[in-house]
Symmetry: C2
Amino acid sequence: MPHLRAPATRRERQREATYDEIVAVSARLLDEGADLSLRAVAAGMGLTAPALYRYVASYQQLVDLVAFELDKAATAEWAEAAARFPQDDPAARLAVACTRFRQWALTKPRRFALVFANPVAADTERRDLVTLSTSGHYFTDLLWQIWEIYRFPYPALDELDPVIREAVLDPLIPAKSDHIPTEDRGLLWVYMRAWSALYGVVTLESTGHCDPRVIESGQLFRATLLDWLEPLGLHDERERITTILDEELARP
Amino acid sequence: MPHLRAPATRRERQREATYDEIVAVSARLLDEGADLSLRAVAAGMGLTAPALYRYVASYQQLVDLVAFELDKAATAEWAEAAARFPQDDPAARLAVACTRFRQWALTKPRRFALVFANPVAADTERRDLVTLSTSGHYFTDLLWQIWEIYRFPYPALDELDPVIREAVLDPLIPAKSDHIPTEDRGLLWVYMRAWSALYGVVTLESTGHCDPRVIESGQLFRATLLDWLEPLGLHDERERITTILDEELARP
DNA sequence: TCAGTTTCGTGAACGGCGTTAACTGTAAAC
DNA sequence: GTTTACAGTTAACGCCGTTCACGAAACTGA
C-alpha cells in the first residue's frame, strides 16, 4: 500500500509516483468504459504487463489498490463539497456528502462498482481491506458529530442482540470508532442501519436495476434520506436539510 | 429466449433441452466457484465453445439467459416455501419470501450477483430484460395482495412527482401491474421504496460489505423488515409476522 | 572509484478467454 | 430422394493473467 509515510529516498519517491500512475491510468480506463486489465494499465503507462508485478502481486491486488484509492479520492471530493457548511453543522454536511456520494455513483458507475459492489468473501484477507474504507470512516464520523449535537436515541448495549453487541464493541466494519465511548457504541447500530438504506438506493440506481426515469428524478434517493431525518434527531432541521438536499440534487 | 410455448417438432424439443442444459451447467459452475465462461459451459456439456453460438449470440447473452432462468427458479423456490401459508395470508407469505430471498442470496452469492448486481446501462436492450424479472413480478403481486386486505396508505397520483407519476403509470420496472387500477398506481411507489430497502440489506450481506457477525445474526435484515410492517398496514400483525420471521431465520 | 547488490524493466511463453470463419455430416422438409 | 437447414467440428485471431530467464540501470559501502 502506498502513501504510508513521507517518501525518503529518490527511489521510493519514484515508486510512489508509479503507484499513483497505476491508479490514474486505471481510473481513466474505467471512465472510458474499457475494462480494467493488467495489460491495459501497463500499456497505458508505456510498460509491459509483467512489469506491473513489481508493484502488485496479482490482478486482484491491483483491483484492491485502485478501489481503495478511488474510494479515498471520492471521499475527499464529497468532504470538500460538504465543507461549504461549517464543522459545527454536521447535519448539513451529511446531506451534502450523501448527495455527492450518489452523484458520484451515478456519473462514475464503474468506479462505484469497483469500490462498493466487489464481492468479498468472509474468510479472505481481502476482508481487512473493507475495514480500511475511507468513505466508511468519513460517514461514521459525521454520524458521531450529529449525535454529539442532536443526541438522537440509540439502543443501549444490553438492548442489542449479543452478537451485534460484540460487533459494535469490536467493529470490523470501517468505523472511526476509537473515540466513541464504549457505552455509546449503540450508535454504530444506527450507522449500520442507515448505511444499509443509503447503500440500497444508491446501488439500485448506480447499477441500473431501476426505472431510469426514477433515477433521473432523484425522488427515491430523496425520500430515503428524508426518512432518516427523524431517527437522527433532525426533525427540527427538516426544512433546512430538505432545502440543502434539493439544492444539491438540482446541481448541474 | 426458451420456454416460449410448448415444443412442437422433435428438433424444437431438442433445442429446448439444450437451453436447459446450458442453464444447468452454468448454475453448477457458479455454485462450484468456477467462473462462468462460454468455454467452460460448452466443455461441461461435451461441446466445443463455438457450438454455443448456435444458441446464444454472445457471452453477454448467455449471462442474461442464465440470470433470467436462475431468477425464475429461485422465485419458484421462495414462492413454494411461502405457499405454506394460505393465499389469503399474503403478509405471512411476504415474510417467508423475503427471508428465503435473503437466504438464497447468502448461500448462493454468485447466483445473486449474476441476477441482481449485474450493471445494466439505461440505453441498451438489456434494459428490457430487467422488466421481465420473475422475482420482481412475484414481489409486486404480493404487495398488491397485502394492500387488498390491509389497505395501507399510498400516495395519490397528484401527490407524486410528475416523473414518478409517469413511471408508475407506465412502469419499466418488473411489475405485474396490469391488474392494478390506474388510480392505485401509487402503490408502485411504495413497492419501489420497499424494494430499495430490501435490496440494500440483502446486497450488503450477500456481497460481504458488512461485518460477518452481523450477517450471521440476521439482525440487520430482521430490523429492516420489521420497519416495513408499519407502512404496509401490518401493525396489528406485528407479533405474528415477527414470529414467522424468526422461525424462518432460525431454519437450519 | 569501483565491485556488489538490489531494483526495475524486457521478451518469450503457457494456458484460458470470446469470437469468427470455413467446413462437414445428418436430420428434417418438399 | 433430392434439397436444405441445422448442429456440430477444427483452426485461428487477439485478448487476458501469470511465470521465468534475463539484462540494464541504480543504489550501496569500502
